[in-house]
């Protein structure tokens, strides 16, 4: 029997797109499309087991070896810095990490900057590299309201289309880095399931190249 390759997919639209890529690469698992609340799906014939995880957790599943490979956003990889291989930029789920503030906001470098964010490590690294002193405010959601209520001067957050910012009278002041979904692999699994993982990398990378041509 083939050893099963465990694959962590981020729940939601991005995960569905990623699964479609795996499916056309020949790693299909039809049961995943059934409309139910199951979280784990396997196809023994092909030797794959998929599971849906919270997008911010997929890197942890891979780093800890519960998943051999998985898909995570670059934002998560930079925030948690997991010890994994980053094998491919899947070129989907594109957005950017940005600093946003109220339109009329003018930065005063003589004052400590109040920064609200979910991504404290990213924000810390970004402002440390500029030598800027900040007051970090960690929030878990609805980051956009922080500057409106005066909780913070700026926010550091993911910006996709910018609609939410616009509707809240905020705008992007600076892009920190672009984000897309990445294929990651556990370092130990890469050694022991190398043929399967290398095959997936080859097939997916051919798809990405074909799309970009």
């Amino acid at each position: 029997m083939k050893p099963m390759l465990n694959i962590a997919l981020p729940k939601g639209r991005l995960g569905e797109k990623v699964y479609a890529m795996f499916e056309s690469a020949g790693f299909e698992c039809p049961s995943i499309k059934e409309n139910n609340r199951k979280l784990i799906f396997e196809n023994e014939e092909v030797g794959v087991r998929y599971f849906w995880v919270k997008p911010s957790d997929s890197a942890i599943y891979v780093e800890r070896g519960a998943a051999d490979i998985g898909v995570a956003g670059k934002d998560i990889l930079l925030e948690y810095d997991p010890d994994v291989y980053e094998l491919l930029d899947l070129d989907i789920g594109k957005c950017r990490m940005a600093v946003a503030a109220k339109k009329e906001f003018r930065d005063n470098p003589q004052r400590t900057l109040k920064v609200a964010t979910k991504f404290t490590n990213i924000a810390q690294n970004f402002y440390s590299s500029k030598g800027r002193e900040i007051d970090m405010i960690h929030l878990n959601g609805s980051i956009e309201i922080a500057p409106i209520l005066g909780l913070s001067d700026v926010i550091v957050d993911i910006v996709e289309t910018g609609t939410t910012l616009k509707e809240n009278n905020l705008e992007v002041k600076e892009t920190i880095f672009p984000i897309s979904a990445r294929l990651i692999a556990n370092k130990s699994s890469f050694k022991f399931k190398n043929t399967q993982i290398e095959k997936i990398v080859r097939e997916l990378s051919a798809q990405i190249e074909a799309k970009n041509d």
Partner: protein, 375 residues
Amino acid sequence: MDVNNSVLKNEEKAVFKLRSLYGKYGYSQFKMSKFEEYDLYVRNKDFLVSDSIITFTDTNGKLLALKPDVTLSIIKNTKDEPNTVNKVYYNENVYRITKGSFSYKEIMQSGLECIGDIDNYNIYEVLMLACESLKSISEECVLDISNLSILSDVINNIKISPKNRKRVLKCASEKNVHEISNICIEEDIPKEKCEVLKKLISVYGNPRDTIAFLEKEISDYTDKKKIEDLKIITDTLTENGYGDMIRIDFSVINDMNYYNGIVFKGFINSIPTGVLSGGQYDNLMNKMGRKAGAIGFAVYLDMIERLNECEHTYDVDTVILYNADDDISALNGAIKMLADNGKSVMAQKTVPNDLKYKQLLRLKDKGVVIVETNA
């Protein structure tokens, strides 16, 4: 007294095996105190896996630390003697914060250091002992070998600027070729040179194929002697039966301020992170004012705790029930007989709550009767 192998934990078995393995090749045991002067670690903070150290003040006012590392103490306690090498092994507890947790852990670590006039034979011997160490833990194991000096030559030769060097090394450790492309575009590095670096960090495989690749594609970017030496060492490993478990992989990155030349990392199937890590650390020796070279490795025994874990179904094989006024000599006789047959036995007056046992016996008329059998 004979020790029943089945009662030993994985890490305990490994300690015995490794100790006899290293002893066979002339390595002597290095015993050290739990404490070391804090100053030793502060001067070499980046060498440590975690930079948090437990410190306390000794009665004479000196600041001491619970040792977070063994290598620095070994270097401090060895002397250079031309044309010879000091060979020592250790089995010590170290105190560190592990990634993701915010508290200190006591970690059992074994390893060896070879310090002195290091040549290809010494490098071979240490790599061979690393292979044997992994095999003594599990047959399903891999040793990834890299040469930092070759990687460094390629980075210098394709003219990556110093400000992006750290980024490139991080990409190499992640096998992240797409980010390497981005850095090369930023730095205006010609595509063919960028491809060389990308291929180098993607290399993964047996020494025969990978060294053929290095000879063909990389030899213009590094000193050919470095590839030749790598070939000599890996050929010798292959001739001695380690060919199937070694891989050349340039994603093995240790801090270049301390390490140089050959670095390596060992993996065991079903353990998610490396269990063995080592390399040549001449740069650290240099920083500590020493002329000699050095190579060594550590085996992280805490990682193997869960290997081949079987479910803990029973707490004890047999429970013998007795009354306070029973003959203790008869009770002892019954227990001894069962224990001599390799069973674990617990004497109790009543069965403790939640205790899982295979068999429940009761002492009766200087013998035992079976009350219940679960397995």
